[in-house]
């Protein structure tokens, strides 16, 4: 069972690199790409109301949260090895992950919807 979670951990690591690269290129290579200033209000609002960009940022948030929290779980379980610690840690991190994902997706979904 651990194998599947670990493989997802590896895949999310790759996805973070891909999604973050797209974000970095769009946000910092505007001079080379010849696009508008990515820090301007109009540019940010145009991205925030574009379904593709919203989906990209929500996906980035999801994979980054999984990758970070699963890695953190591994460290905690190594330092406090017991079945109870594993159970408590897992459920706490799932709760933190859901809360952080809900909080992080509220603004883009709100902007997209209206």
């Amino acid at each position: 069972m651990r194998t599947r979670f670990h493989l997802i951990h590896l895949v999310t690591g790759v996805l973070i690199a891909v999604f973050l690269s797209i974000h970095m290129v769009r946000s910092h290579l505007d001079d080379i790409l010849g696009t508008d200033d990515p820090t301007s209000w109009e540019s940010m609002m145009s991205r925030a109301t574009d379904g593709m960009w919203v989906a990209l940022y929500i996906a980035l948030l999801a994979v980054a949260l999984y990758h970070a929290l699963y890695g953190l779980r591994g460290i905690i379980l190594e330092l406090t090895p017991s079945a109870r610690a594993a159970r408590v840690t897992t459920w706490c991190l799932i709760a933190i992950g859901i809360a952080a994902f809900g909080w992080g997706t509220y603004v883009p979904i709100h902007l997209l919807s209206g």
Binding site: M1, R2, T3, L7, G74, L77, E78, L79, P81, S82
Partner: protein, 276 residues
């Protein structure tokens, strides 16, 4: 015969007796050493001539049994496989192997190591139990199939890889490089059919995926094995099984032993001439 050079080397040996209590302490012994003398020879000198209460474990004195694993100058070695001269130092610090409970002085309790070893089913599992119990023939295996796991059969369970492993240091439930490498050894054996069950045992929070690939096990193994490689190959088997790429392997069939063997090397014929 030329006179052998002798040199005085100070052995700083960790002494600890849990029955008497107190903290572990280092005790110094001056040992006259000569070229070719091993750390185990030095410890035997200390026990026979200086302090008979010193406790350490040793047996074969030739790197086969794996009994004399200890921490020599902060690095896990077999005492019988390590010459004093190698360190180019007048002081040697000898401590028990880390990551294991100390019984007395340099003797550690290897029970956790053997418990972990036992937990991964370190034996051939086959469906034909009758043939296993009362063999009528041999289980076929090609030299190539043997090569897949041959080096891991040389493990002598000395515990040095576990002592060197940083994950074993922090996670006491971690199966450890020895057990994981032996798990791979049996999973890779073409005569075995217990892979699925064995992979389930190491697919846990403290199993194969907990290895950080520090490589300290392979670096320290006195037999030159590569347990880190075995763990990586075990991870590959786990991933293949989880993704459905792993074909169900049938254990190698029972084959009759050869009826006649060809002599590869022509042996010279010796005959004893009768004295006339």
């Amino acid at each position: 015969m030329a006179e052998r050079d002798t040199k005085q080397v100070t052995f700083r040996i960790q002494r600890y007796n849990p029955e008497q209590g107190g903290a572990p302490r280092l005790e110094e012994f001056v040992v006259p050493t000569s070229r070719g003398m091993t750390v185990l020879d030095g410890l035997i000198y200390v026990k026979e001539d200086l302090d008979s209460t010193l406790a350490f474990r040793a047996s074969c004195r030739m790197g086969i049994c794996g009994s004399c694993g200890m921490l020599i100058n902060s690095y896990p070695h077999l005492a019988c496989h390590t010459q004093i001269e190698e360190f180019h130092s007048d002081v040697l610090t000898v401590k028990p192997l880390p990551n294991m409970p100390v019984i007395k002085d340099l003797v550690v309790d290897l029970t956790p190591l053997f418990d972990h070893h036992r937990s991964i089913m370190p034996y051939i599992v086959r469906p034909d139990e009758q043939e296993m119990e009362n063999p009528t023939a041999e289980f076929g295996q090609t030299p190539q199939e043997l090569n897949d796991f041959l080096q891991f059969t040389y493990c002598m369970k000395c515990g040095i890889c576990v002592a060197a492993c940083p994950t074993s240091a922090s996670d006491k439930l971690f199966l450890g490089p020895e057990a994981l490498a032996q798990c791979y050894r049996y999973c890779a054996d073409s005569r075995d059919s217990g892979q699925r069950e064995r992979l389930r045992l190491v697919d846990t929070d403290h199993g194969a995926w907990h290895c950080h690939l520090a490589g300290a096990c392979s670096e320290s193994c006195p037999k030159g094995l590569d347990p880190a490689l075995a763990i990586q190959l075990l991870k590959r088997q786990l991933a293949s099984q989880a993704l459905g790429f792993r074909k169900k392997q049938l254990p190698s069939p029972v084959v009759s032993p050869p009826t006649e063997s060809k002599t590869r090397i022509p042996y010279p014929e010796f005959s004893v001439k009768a004295k006339k």
